[in-house]
């Protein structure tokens, strides 16, 4: 599968399997996105969250301000080559009117669900045939992408349906696209992005009137011992290395 990130230098976040998304918190994820060090799939999800949540855009802006301040104060200037300025002055062109006007983005649908356009990057990989799979009454999934670290899918829960409890052993990222769900930690609505880590039991229930559609990213398990393992078996490897 065409996941370009796996060919980069080891040790970078998103490329070294043991260090994938090392600091697993909401804030760290936004910081890495602002810094430009987050891998493509997670960047795509964060961008979708930003599309739906104005408050999150403010937080990213704050991190970008940190970046700008570091550029001014913490970057010891490195000498440029002798003719660098001349070269750049010969490359800049007079601007024309309307040169920076943006063409409007069209509606993006994945699996029949209208989603933020940034999620297109998640489906930019070969998967034989994408379709909604019913796992039980009122609960369907639609696979978007899988790589050596994570599996990404859309999840649709009918109104008031409760997902069977599953053991989460590693990173799980959820973005609510439509409707809402509740679990023991609170209520989550359209635009909310939830980062969860570590072992715990987790049993979300969809809103009783609207149901819920989420994007979910889960770490690939080391062994296939999970409740919907029959879907994972062809893609599972013995270690995450």
């Amino acid at each position: 599968m065409a996941d370009k990130t796996t060919t980069d230098t080891p040790g970078r976040i998103g490329h070294n399997s043991s260090a994938f998304c090392e600091e697993k918190s909401y804030e760290a994820l936004l910081m890495d996105y602002a810094a430009g060090t987050l891998c493509l799939p997670l960047s795509s999800i964060v961008a979708a969250h930003l599309t739906l949540s104005p408050a999150s855009r403010e937080k990213v802006k704050a991190f970008e301000t940190v970046g700008g301040a570091m550029l001014e104060n913490n970057c010891d200037p490195v000498a440029l080559s002798k003719n660098c300025l001349d070269q750049v002055m010969s490359r800049i062109m007079p601007r024309c009117a309307g040169q920076n006007s943006q063409s409007a983005c069209t509606e993006t649908k994945i699996g029949g669900i209208t989603v933020p356009s940034s999620l297109k990057a998640l489906i930019d990989c070969p998967i034989k045939k994408r379709s909604w799979k019913k796992l039980q009454d009122g609960f369907e999934i639609y696979t978007l992408r899988h790589d050596r670290h994570m599996r990404y899918m859309l999840m649709k829960l009918a109104p008031d349906v409760k997902m069977p409890p599953h053991n989460r052993k590693d990173l799980e990222i959820t973005l609510v696209l439509e409707g809402a769900f509740e679990d023991e930690t609170g209520r989550y609505e359209r635009g909310d992005m939830i980062i969860m880590d570590g072992e715990s039991q987790h049993a979300p229930r969809a809103d009783a009137s609207t149901g819920c559609v989420c994007l979910s990213g889960r770490a690939m398990p080391a062994k296939s011992k999970i409740w919907f393992g029959f879907l994972f078996i062809p893609f599972c490897r013995n270690s995450r290395a």
């Binding site: 370009k4 990130t5 970078r12 976040i13 090392e22 600091e23 804030e27 760290a28 910081m31 810094a35 430009g36 060090t37 493509l40 961008a47 979708a48 599309t51 104005p54 408050a55 855009r57 403010e58 937080k59 704050a62 991190f63 970008e64 301000t65 940190v66 970046g67 700008g68 301040a69 570091m70 550029l71 001014e72 913490n74 010891d76 490195v78 000498a79 440029l80 080559s81 002798k82 003719n83 660098c84 300025l85 070269q87 750049v88 800049i92 601007r95 920076n100 983005c105 509606e107 993006t108 989603v115 933020p116 356009s117 940034s118 990057a121 930690t185 609170g186 635009g191 909310d192 992005m193």
Partner: protein, 230 residues
């Protein structure tokens, strides 16, 4: 005002030595170093105001001399940023050129009420870096996307608020203890995992994580909003 850490002063002096020995293309003087005894904060505020006015000239009049002055200041810093993130010097220089060319091409889109100039230029350099070193186009929220949730309508005085908040964030960064800001810098700016940083600094991994968390906690006080979307 808090004095700059000694390391930065030494680095700036070394840089000045190097620059003095190199043939100069123009005779535009370097901006005075920030640690002028009289008032470093004032010198920095002056520099910001001056650069904003240069940017206005570039946007409104396609002023090439103003652009050249901005280039002299920012391009060596952009090159430094890119090299710290893994680019070779020749690659870093080419990307610094491309960044400044984007600054020229998109000058009219820069809004000083939305962001400081260094913030805007940082984001352009960061995007060029992702295109080139990471080989993907950075996913971004698109304001023309039909599902885009627009910003709250700006209350009167909100733009001034935004500018002040940026200043507070930048000042908060400077006030961080060196032991925290150095690690934040490596994590944010040098694309290093906490494990890398621990190895490099011979600090325990837990210490690295907790110092970065402390740094973010301090900065958080200057960031808008209490709810972090869980």
């Amino acid at each position: 005002m808090n004095p700059e850490p000694p390391l930065n002063i030494l680095a700036k002096l070394a840089f000045n030595d190097v620059m003095a020995s190199m043939p100069r293309i123009t005779t535009i003087p370097d901006h005075p170093p920030a640690q002028t005894p009289a008032s470093p904060a004032l010198a920095e505020a002056d520099r910001h105001a001056h650069q904003e006015s240069l940017m206005r000239r570039v946007a409104a009049n396609q002023d090439r001399a103003a652009f050249a002055e901005l280039f002299e200041y920012f391009a060596p810093r952009i090159k430094s940023y890119l090299m710290k993130n893994g680019a070779r010097p020749d690659q870093a220089e080419e990307l610094a050129q491309e960044t400044m060319i984007s600054v020229w091409d998109r000058a009219e889109t820069y809004n000083p009420d939305q962001a400081r100039l260094s913030t805007w230029i940082f984001t352009i350099a960061r995007n060029r870096r992702i295109d080139f070193l990471r080989k993907f186009a950075r996913p971004m929220p698109d304001p023309t996307d039909p599902v885009f949730e627009p910003d709250q309508p700006a209350a009167p005085g909100k733009n001034l608020e935004a500018a002040q908040e940026s200043e507070r964030i930048a000042n908060a960064l400077k006030k961080l203890p060196a032991e925290q800001s150095e690690l934040l810098y490596k994590s944010f700016f040098e694309d290093k995992t906490h494990g890398d940083i621990a190895a490099e600094t011979s600090l325990p991994l837990g210490t690295v994580k907790s110092r970065i968390r402390l740094a973010l906690d301090r900065l958080r006080k200057d960031m808008k909003g209490e709810d972090y979307g869980r």
